[in-house]
Amino acid sequence: MAHPEQSRTAVGAMLPGDHACLAYDHPAERDAIMTAFVWDGLRAGDAVLYLAEAGPDTAKRRLRAVFGADDRIEVLPACGDPRAAVRSALRRGYAGVRLTVEASAAPRGRPGTARFAAFEDAVDRLVGAHRPRVTALCQYDLRWFDAGRLPALEERHGARVRADDVFDDGVLTIAPLFAPPGLRLSGVLDASTLPALVAALRDLDEGAAHLCLDLSRLDFCDLEGVRGLVEANRSTAVLDRQIILRATPGCVELMLRVSGWRDSPGIVLEATG
């Protein structure tokens, strides 16, 4: 599903007192954003309150796997009222509370329903009552409702968030992709920014069989950049991994042709149009 990226804020750019919406269509995307949200809170001296939908145990296990046993993180069932837990954390002297809620499915109602509105209003009031000490992130699994309901979802939140960029030096921006897994490159890929791409490829999760490099926002790419793209498999341990080049701009097409690297093994140019 295509996201209007421009209207989304990087999770790392959220401010204390924000009430934001995390609409995702892949669990890896949710995990990346939620994890960044929690880390940022812990670093700022906040307590973290996690309202889990399907019973707290699954969420507890998942959080422990990432953050270890950390008593600053509290997991509650999503059907409960978080107000008491928030007040308690603030009384205990935490700088603030990071509240994140699994709000996707049936118990909360779908966007547009009265139960949904009541729930989001309650979160909004809670954030407003302690602003800026409470920051909230509501997780919505887009697979549960159609894209037509997105406006109703956004309306209830101050912002929509996306995962943090992997790299951004003002010349090249590298953003993570989740479904399919990969990277989106924006700006200029050349000899000076290529090391960032190489590093980002090295840091990618090796769990994915194949990798998508979305080049739709690449403004310029020189021969060194094209070499970096066709050598994207250099650092992987994944056997027979395919690199799918998506929406290749004219400069990449041209350089692939004149360099003779178009037929490099493991490189697939996704057909356009």
Partner: protein, 334 residues
């Protein structure tokens, strides 16, 4: 696979005087000139050459003007001609680098997989500028190196009744063998391709005109340089859809100067005789130009890969290097 390198080749260039007849050797390049004056002389040598290739199951390709193609097709007979791929010389000989790259692409994709390839080509010399004539002669010399050690036979046709004397004379310097009805003989005037290449570089580059747009560049200034190039190319009449190859080519040269050359340079852009020209000077480096950019990229030879791409993106690229540094001139047809 290709015994080509901008450095001295790993294996010695084949001893052409001892080269077997076409079809007999395995990975041996045979590069012959057939100088003819009449259709009869052409037929007596070219037709047996093509027939032998067809008999041997080789990929047989003729690159010639339509009337030569029609003539040879008629002499071969329909059955034999059906095994020959006829290509139009007009498209093939668009530019020397274009021809070299096309030949590499086709041999690797289509012809070598079938075994040996046997080409009969008639290069186009009419309507060429003095520079183009020189670069086409250079092209003939480069073929000896570019396809050395590959299962390739190339017979190049030279019509002595129509071509300028210097073109025919240089054919015997760029081809190790001269073909005739009684077989081929070593060319007594054959010149080492590296020497011929250097000879082509002895003609100095003219100064850019005073009106040429000039811009200096160094680290961090490539984005601005690209904007400048695109604007100048448009102003000088290069159609928008052909701006990108030009900008990419100059950008590669400038990148190389910044990263591996003197670190800073200057360029001049102007239009002249239906061409867009760009001179790039690298005052800080003396470059070794041994067939630089005439080998397809392989391995991690950054600069050579870049120069191959630059040559492919342009019509003709000239390189002059000396104690004062290096100057590259890129020609793009308007």
């Amino acid at each position: 696979m290709i015994g080509f390198s901008a450095e001295p080749p790993a294996r010695p260039v084949a001893d052409h005087t001892a080269a077997p007849a076409p079809g007999e050797g395995a990975d041996v390049l045979v590069h012959q000139a057939l100088v003819y004056r009449t259709r009869r002389e052409l037929e007596l040598t070219a037709v047996p050459y093509l027939r032998a290739g067809c008999r041997g199951g080789e990929a047989v390709v003729v690159v010639a003007a339509p009337e030569v193609t029609a003539f040879l097709g008629g002499r071969l007979g329909a059955e034999t001609a059906s095994h020959v791929e006829f290509l139009d010389a007009g498209g093939w000989f668009g530019g020397p680098m274009h021809a070299l790259a096309t030949c590499f692409d086709r041999t690797r994709a289509d012809w070598w997989p079938r075994g040996r390839v046997r080409l009969l080509t008639e290069p186009v010399w009419t309507g060429r500028t003095a520079l183009e004539v020189r670069e086409w002669k250079r092209h003939e010399a480069i073929l000896n190196v570019a396809f050395a050690g590959t299962p390739t036979a190339i017979m190049c046709l030279y019509d002595a009744s129509a071509l300028p004397g210097h073109v025919v004379a240089d054919a015997s310097r760029t081809h190790p063998e001269l073909a005739g009805p009684d077989g081929s003989v070593p060319s007594a005037h054959f010149t080492d391709p590296a020497d011929f290449y250097d000879e082509c570089n002895t003609v100095p580059l003219s100064q850019p005109p005073a009106a040429a747009a000039c811009k200096a560049f160094s680290t961090g200034e490539l984005p601005a340089l690209r904007d400048f190039l695109a604007a100048e190319a448009g102003r000088l009449g290069l159609p928008g859809d052909r701006s990108l190859p030009f900008v990419l080519a100059v950008n590669e040269v400038a990148t190389n100067i910044i990263r591996e050359g003197g670190g800073r340079g200057a360029l001049w852009v102007w239009a002249e005789d239906g061409e867009l020209l760009c001179d790039v000077s690298d005052p800080g480096r003396v470059l070794t130009d041994r067939f630089l950019g005439y080998a397809p990229p392989h391995g991690r030879r950054r600069h050579e890969a870049a120069m191959w791409a630059v040559r492919r993106l342009c019509h003709i690229v000239e390189i002059r290097t000396g104690v004062d540094g290096t100057r590259l001139r890129m020609h793009v047809k308007l």
